[in-house]
Amino acid sequence: MGLPQTIPLLGWSWDDVIFVVLSGVMLGSALLVVLGRNIIRSGLFMILSFAALAGIYVLLGAPIVAAAQVLIYIGAISVLILFAIMLTQSKGGSAALTFHHQAKAAGLAAGLLALILTVTVLWTTWPEAVAPGVAVATASTVVVAQLLFSNNTMAVEVISVLLLAAVIGGVFLAKREEAPDAGEPTPDGSA
């Protein structure tokens, strides 16, 4: 009620302010993920980065994707990664222990990639970009449900089979092998 439509000095709309803040948080925490020496801290900053990205999805008018982001990435994948970090007990160390010796070349390559992507995006005229201020086309839940369960039913079923296969494969890979009989090395490593 008391809020003005735009920020007084900059002339930005509130959406712009939220976008800038969220992207700053997302990129900053992503940088901390890849640069941090302590890998547990990296995992926690990764959660922050995912959360900021969920906010950007809401800003984009995709609330379902935002909810799925919170559920899948923050709720499941991050927890999985934190568990794996703690199981492997990898301690933080010096830069030589954290980074490969080709880290400088990697930084150069990544910087070049960022430059190329940015220049390409800015030089391309994207088709049908809506004018600023126009409400973005929010995909309603009904439309998304229609697409998922009527038009793409087969894909949903395939994804469910893929997830089942991933669960079984994960359990098989990570399960501790029973102690083999004395001697008798298995030739191909199969149980």
């Binding site: 794996a84 930084g107 998304v144």
Partner: protein, 103 residues
């Protein structure tokens, strides 16, 4: 700014580059997997942005993004299981010490 596809695509490109750097530079296998997750998220952001701003894609961007998330979850499961299986044998998560197949 927010009514503009460019801003989201540039943001996605920057996030992807950060993930690329992490994947190339980190020695820890789990840190590499985290960088892959960052890259997957960057691509997902681009997909959702296209889905929002291109009218012909009405709703399709959301559907594709959900599929990408499901596949990424499967990838994370299997990848972390492999890392843990290797760690059990070699007692280290550092990828450049997994050199037994090279020697």
């Amino acid at each position: 700014m927010t009514g503009n596809l460019d801003a989201y695509l540039v943001l996605s490109g920057l996030l992807f580059s950060i993930g690329t750097f992490g994947f190339l530079a980190r020695r820890n296998a789990i840190a590499m997997l985290m960088s892959v997750e960052l890259m997957v998220n960057a691509v997902n952001l681009a997909i959702v942005a296209f889905g929002t701003f291109v009218p012909e894609l009405k709703g399709q961007g959301t559907v594709i993004a959900l599929f990408v998330m499901a596949v990424a979850a499967a990838e994370a499961t299997v990848g972390l299981a492999i890392v843990i299986a290797i760690y059990r044998n070699r007692r280290t998560p550092l990828v450049d010490e997994y050199s037994s197949m090279r020697d």
